[in-house]
């Protein structure tokens, strides 16, 4: 079976660091002809414009040609084709497949029936490992180290796929975690146990402001209305964790704010012009990270 990237758990710490190192190399030299004889397929069974454009940019910057679809309306999936058959077919066309699918576990299954490497670009609520790696790349790039940092996670910590994966990856390093969320969206106990088993320090809080002065990385997430059974509850908490520029005084000089985007009202636009805002650069880092992932899986770097 070719090497695929399905879950952040598939990577050993050394492999993660190797991919981050490759990403830094691609950032230095973003135009490459490494893949000019390769075809990359991006097959998106549900729309995700941001992720798809990022992967396609990465493939293009590596010199590869790109095939694929961005939603299933015009494909055989609407005729009832199984995921297995779609993957079998595409793996005979392309050298690597990037897949986004609404069902949990679909990417793992795809990697078991494919003859070429699979990159999971999001399988339902389960995993999205390239997001985690680009988050880590952004942390490494802005802090020069992944060790000894205070990572404050804010917003929807219950359902947020990105915070769970980032937590698990950063648990390989010496990280202090602060979880800021309303009780309805608190970090699930399985992740707190996970940190406990690794003797890592974490703190839960309902207030963001007291934690800003000690934070190195502030990881904001969107609180989604559809997560709440009672719309009144959403109205109560939706603006509780909205970050404004005035809240960033005082803060550490190295503090950076990350957000997987899209944001709604959890980061006020006046934050965009502060030196702490890093979410748009974070999106650009995604391209270098995805170039690194593709090159790594194809064994070219």
């Amino acid at each position: 079976m070719p090497k695929s990237l399905i879950s952040i758990h598939d990577l050993a710490k050394e492999e993660m660091l190797h991919i981050l190192d490759l990403a830094a190399q691609f950032e230095q030299n973003p135009a490459s002809s490494l893949l000019n004889d390769k075809v990359i397929a991006t097959i998106f069974f549900e729309p995700s414009t941001r992720t798809r454009l990022s992967f396609e940019t990465a493939a293009n910057r590596l010199g590869a040609r790109v095939i694929g679809f961005s939603e299933t309306g015009s494909t055989s999936v609407t005729k009832g084709e199984s995921l297995k058959d779609t993957i079998k077919m595409v793996s005979h066309y392309a050298d690597l497949i990037v897949i986004r699918h609404p069902l949990d576990g679909s990417a793992r299954y795809a990697s078991e029936v494919s003859s070429v490497p699979i990159v999971n670009a999001g399988d339902g609520t389960n995993q999205h490992p390239s997001q985690t790696l680009l988050d880590m790349y952004s942390i490494l790039k802005t802090q020069q180290s992944l060790d000894g940092l205070q990572l404050t996670m804010v917003g929807d910590l219950k359902y947020g796929r990105t915070v769970h994966s980032l937590l698990q990856a950063m648990a390989l390093f010496d990280t202090r975690f602060i979880f800021v969320a309303p009780p309805e969206l608190a970090m699930p106990s399985e992740y707190k146990q996970f940190l406990h088993h690794r003797n890592l320090i974490f703190k839960e809080s309902r207030d963001l402001l007291p934690h800003i002065p000690d934070t190195d990385i502030l990881y904001m997430t969107r609180v989604q209305a559809e997560r709440f059974q009672d719309p009144m509850e959403y109205e109560k908490v939706k603006n509780v964790y909205a970050l404004t520029a005035s809240m960033l005084q005082p803060c550490k000089p190295n503090l950076k704010i990350l957000h997987p985007l899209p944001r709604v009202n959890e980061i006020a636009t006046d934050v965009d012009d502060t030196p702490q805002a890093y979410y748009f650069e974070q999106a650009r880092n995604g391209v270098y990270t995805r170039m690194a992932i593709i090159a790594f899986l194809l064994g070219l770097k």
């Binding site: 879950s7 995921l83 069902l103 949990d104 576990g105 679909s106 793992r108 299954y109 339902g124 389960n126």
Partner: protein
């Protein structure tokens, strides 16, 4: 020995075959399904809600002229972790086998996550087992979600798993 005599009174003895003992009563029919005993042509007798020192109440199955591989024995680990397989030859117990929880389980249980690929497409379920205080729980190989003993659903198979004598 008293218990053995007691059992013989309640469920008739077999000459050759297997006696599966210490099955939780609520799991009896699931054990029958998992082992494919509903498809076998061999003589089967079973009793349920029998008194048990260990379980309070238990069920027992006697299958004439049938013997089981370790793999089959472990298939019922999820629903009858205390079960014992006694191999009978000429009315005597010649071997006792304890169920062991395998590290990996394929195709026996259903994933509790309704959005898991295994609940939508023709994909065999696959889990790694995790021993916890509340019993066994399963981590789905595909969606990575946890299925605990409470929410466990067994996939019934009609194929027979008994090895003929």
């Amino acid at each position: 020995m008293n218990m053995d005599t007691d059992k013989k009174l309640k469920v008739s003895a077999i000459k050759d075959g297997t006696v599966i003992d210490r099955i939780p009563p609520q799991s009896l029919f699931k054990v029958i399904e998992i082992l494919g005993l509903d498809q076998t042509g061999h003589q089967i007798t079973f009793g349920t809600n029998l008194e048990s020192k260990h379980l309070g109440k238990k069920a027992i199955i006697k299958i004439a002229d049938s013997f089981f591989e370790d793999e089959d024995v472990n298939r019922i680990a999820l629903i009858a972790p205390d079960a014992k397989f006694n191999v009978i030859r000429n009315y005597e117990v010649v071997e006792k086998r304890q169920v062991e929880i395998p590290d990996q389980i394929r195709g026996i249980a259903r994933c509790v996550n309704p959005k898991c690929i295994t609940n939508h497409q023709n994909v065999e379920t696959r889990f790694t087992t995790k021993k916890e205080r509340g019993g066994i729980s399963l981590v789905c190989h595909y969606c990575e979600k946890l299925t605990n003993a409470k929410s466990l659903q067994i996939i019934t198979k009609s194929s027979a798993y008994t090895t003929d004598f």
